[in-house]
C-alpha cells in the first residue's frame, strides 16, 4: 500500500510540474501559425510548413485536417489562423464569419484535377463526354444504367461497375457539381470510399470498372490504370477530349474536372509577423511544392496577384452568392477584384 501511495504522490508531483509548464508555453503568441481544414490541401500546407522550418525555425507551424467545413467552423471561432479549403467559402460560412466579426483573405494556392479512370484491360473507352458522364452518374441513373452500351451505343454490352468518392469528401461535392450540375446529387449505387487508395485498388482489379478520384492518385498508380480524356463540348477552352495532365489542368483546358484550392487567412492573424511571413512564403513556394505533393501549380501570374492581394489585405470572397468554381479562371477573378 505504501508503494501505491508513493506512486500516487509521484504522479501528483508530475502533474503539478506540468501545470507550471503550461504558463510558460501559452505566452509567446507571435511565433505560432495554426492551420486546419481540407485533407486535399493538407499535403501542400505540410510541404510549405516543412520548408518554412528552414526559413524560420522558431515559428511553430501546425497543420490539422478537419475537412474544409470543419476548418471553417474553427476559423469562425478564431481558433486557427489559416483554413485550407478545397472549395470556396459558402454563403452560410460567410454569414458565420460576419457574426463572429472575423475578416478573411481568400487566396488560391493550387489546382486539383479529378481523373476519370477505367481498368487497364479496358480497350474500348477512348474518351468520354461530360454529357455521357452525367448520364452515368446522375441520380436518375440509379438502378438503370448498368451496362457500358447504355453510356454509348458503340460500347459493348458489358456490366459497368462504378467507383467514386464517399459523400463526406470534398471530391464528391466537386465531381457532382461539375458533372451532374448540382453538388451532392449523385446516384447512390456505386462503390464509395473517402480513401482514394481504396478506389485505386477497386478500379485496378475490376475490368468493368469506371471510377474518379484525385489526379495525384492516378499519377502514382499510372501503371495499373487507364486515364480517360474528357470532352466538355466547349471549344473555347480546347477542342475535343482532353487528357488531364499538369499542363492541361494548370492552363484551364481540362474542364470541368479541375478545381482551385484555397487558403483563407484570418485578417487579424495576418498582422502578426509570423503569419504574414508564412503566408508570403506559401504563395512564393506553393508553385514549386505543388508538383512534389501531387497538386497542380497555378500559373505564376496568379501567385503574384494573390501575393499582392494579401499584402493589400483585401478581405472577402470573390465567390459571392453561391457561385461555384467550375470553369473559373483564377487570374481573371483576381484581376476583376482590383
Amino acid at each position: 500500500m505504501k508503494k501505491l501511495i508513493l506512486m500516487l504522490n509521484i504522479l501528483i508531483v508530475l502533474a503539478a510540474c506540468g501545470g507550471k509548464n503550461n504558463k510558460t508555453t501559452s505566452g509567446g503568441e507571435s511565433g505560432e501559425v495554426k492551420i486546419d481544414g481540407s485533407s486535399t490541401v493538407y499535403p501542400l500546407s505540410e510541404a510549405v510548413a516543412e520548408e518554412f522550418r528552414n526559413e524560420a525555425p522558431d515559428v511553430r507551424v501546425t497543420v490539422g485536417e478537419s475537412g474544409t467545413g470543419g476548418g471553417f467552423k474553427k476559423f469562425s471561432r478564431g481558433e486557427i489562423d489559416i483554413n485550407d479549403a478545397s472549395r470556396p467559402i459558402s454563403s452560410e460560412e460567410v454569414e458565420a464569419m460576419k457574426q463572429s466579426g472575423i475578416d478573411f483573405i481568400e487566396l488560391p494556392v493550387a489546382y486539383d484535377g479529378l481523373a476519370v479512370v477505367v481498368n487497364k484491360e479496358n480497350d474500348f473507352v477512348d474518351y468520354l463526354t461530360v454529357e455521357e458522364l452525367k448520364k452515368l452518374w446522375e441520380p436518375a441513373a440509379q438502378g438503370k444504367i448498368k451496362t457500358w452500351n447504355q453510356v454509348r451505343a458503340s460500347f459493348p454490352n458489358q456490366p459497368i461497375n462504378l467507383y467514386g468518392a464517399g459523400t463526406a469528401s470534398g471530391t464528391y461535392d466537386y465531381f457532382t457539381e461539375a458533372i451532374v450540375g448540382k453538388a451532392k446529387s449523385s446516384r447512390g449505387d456505386y462503390n464509395a470510399s473517402e480513401d482514394d487508395n481504396v478506389l485505386v485498388k477497386g478500379v485496378s482489379s475490376d475490368k468493368n470498372a469506371l471510377g474518379y478520384f484525385g489526379l495525384a492518385y492516378y499519377q502514382n498508380n499510372a501503371d495499373k490504370l487507364k486515364l480517360i480524356p474528357i470532352d466538355d463540348k466547349d471549344d473555347s477552352n480546347g477542342k475535343g477530349p482532353i487528357l488531364p495532365t499538369i499542363e492541361t489542368v494548370s492552363n484551364g483546358t481540362y474542364q470541368p474536372l479541375a478545381r482551385p484550392e484555397f487558403i483563407y487567412v484570418n485578417a487579424k492573424s495576418a498582422d502578426r509577423p509570423a503569419v504574414k511571413s508564412f503566408v508570403e512564403f506559401y504563395l512564393k513556394n506553393a508553385g514549386e511544392l505543388a508538383k512534389e505533393v501531387g497538386s497542380v501549380a497555378l500559373p505564376a501570374e496568379v501567385y503574384e496577384l494573390a501575393l499582392k492581394k494579401f499584402q493589400n489585405k483585401k478581405t472577402g470572397t470573390v465567390f459571392g452568392s453561391g457561385q461555384n468554381t467550375v470553369g473559373v479562371n483564377m487570374a481573371d477573378l483576381l484581376k476583376a477584384e482590383k
Binding site: 516543412e50 511553430r60 490539422g64
Partner: protein, 285 residues
C-alpha cells in the same frame, strides 16, 4: 449406429468447430502481422523514430507523434487511475446495496458501451470549449480518461471482489477500521488485478483515433510538446493520414508506424501479464 455413437460424432463435431473458432482469431492476427511486417519492417530505423513529419515519405518520421502519444498516455493514467480506483473501492466496499448504487452500476456499464467518437464530441464541447482547454494534450487526456474510466472501475471492483471474505474478517477481528482493512489487506491483495485492468485500459487508449480527431488533434506537429497545454498529434492519427496519401512510400511508413504501435501494445499487455503473475505468487489466499 446407436445413440452413443451419434453422441460421439456430435462431440467430435463440436470440438472441431471450437478449435476452428479458436484459431480464426489467431490466423487473422498472423495475417495482419505478416502483411504489416513484410511492408514496414525494413523502414524502421533510428531516423524513422527521430525524424519530424515531412512531405517526402523517405524522410518522414514519427518523433512528434510518438512523444504526443506518450504525453497523452501518462496524463491519462494520472487522471483516470486515482479516480477510477477510488470509485471502484467506493462501489465495492462502502456503497450500500440500494437503488442509488444500482443506478450508478448500471450507468457505468452503459458508459463502457458508448462509442468512442461520442466521448470525442463530449470532450470537444466540455473540455475544449467550455473549459477553454482547446485542442491541447490535456483535453485529449481528459477525454481518453473518460473513455477508460468505466474499464478501470469495473476491473477494480472485480479485483476487490476476488479478495476472500475471511481475510477481511480476520482484519476486523483484530480491531482494524474499515480504511485500515482496505489499505492494509484488501488493496495489496487486489493490486495485481487492479494494475492489470489499468494496463489493459491504457492499451485501449493507445489505439483510439476517433475521439482525438474530434477534439482537434493535429496531423503536422513539428515540435515535441513541452506541457499539457501544447498541441499534439499521436501515432494513430499519423498512420491514418499516411494510408490515405497517394505516394506508395507513405503506405510503407504507415506499416512501419503500425509495427511501433503494435510493439507498444504488446509491451503493455506483457507488463500486465507479468504484474498479474507476480502478485498472484505473492498473495496466497
Amino acid at each position: 449406429m446407436n445413440s452413443s455413437q451419434i453422441n460421439k460424432i456430435k462431440n467430435l463435431g463440436f470440438k472441431s468447430f471450437a478449435i476452428v473458432c479458436t484459431f480464426l482469431g489467431l490466423v487473422v492476427l498472423a495475417v495482419l502481422l505478416y502483411v504489416v511486417f513484410s511492408q514496414g519492417l525494413s523502414r524502421i530505423d533510428w531516423d524513422f523514430i527521430t525524424s519530424l513529419p515531412s512531405r517526402r515519405a523517405s524522410s518522414a518520421g514519427i518523433y512528434t507523434a510518438l512523444f504526443g502519444m506518450v504525453w497523452i498516455l501518462v496524463l491519462t493514467v494520472i487522471i483516470a487511475f486515482p479516480i477510477g480506483m477510488a470509485a471502484g473501492i467506493y462501489l465495492q466496499e462502502y456503497g450500500k446495496k440500494n437503488w442509488f448504487t444500482n443506478f450508478i452500476e448500471v450507468n457505468i456499464a452503459n458508459l463502457a458501451g458508448v462509442p468512442s467518437i461520442i466521448y470525442g464530441i463530449l470532450g470537444l464541447e466540455l473540455f475544449g470549449r467550455v473549459l477553454g482547454l482547446g485542442n491541447s494534450i490535456l483535453t485529449g487526456a481528459l477525454t481518453l480518461s473518460l473513455l477508460i474510466l468505466p474499464i478501470i472501475i469495473v476491473s477494480t471492483r472485480e479485483a476487490i471482489k476476488a479478495v476472500p471474505k475471511s481475510l477481511r474478517e480476520a482484519s476486523y477481528g483484530l480491531g482494524a477500521t474499515k480504511w485500515q482493512t482496505i489499505s492494509n489487506v484488501v488493496l495489496p491483495s487486489a493490486f495485481g488485478g487492479i494494475m492489470t485492468g489499468l494496463i489493459l485500459a491504457i492499451s485501449r487508449a493507445i489505439g483510439e483515433t476517433a475521439p482525438l480527431i474530434v477534439i482537434g488533434a493535429l496531423v503536422y506537429v513539428p515540435f515535441v510538446p513541452e506541457g499539457p497545454m501544447d498541441e499534439f498529434t499521436v501515432l494513430t492519427i499519423q498512420i491514418f493520414n499516411w494510408v490515405t496519401r497517394p505516394q506508395a512510400g507513405f503506405v510503407t511508413n504507415a506499416a512501419a508506424a503500425i509495427i511501433i504501435l503494435l510493439m507498444f501494445t504488446f509491451m503493455m499487455n506483457g507488463i500486465a501479464v507479468l504484474i498479474r503473475s507476480r502478485y498472484n505468487k505473492k498473495t496466497k489466499f
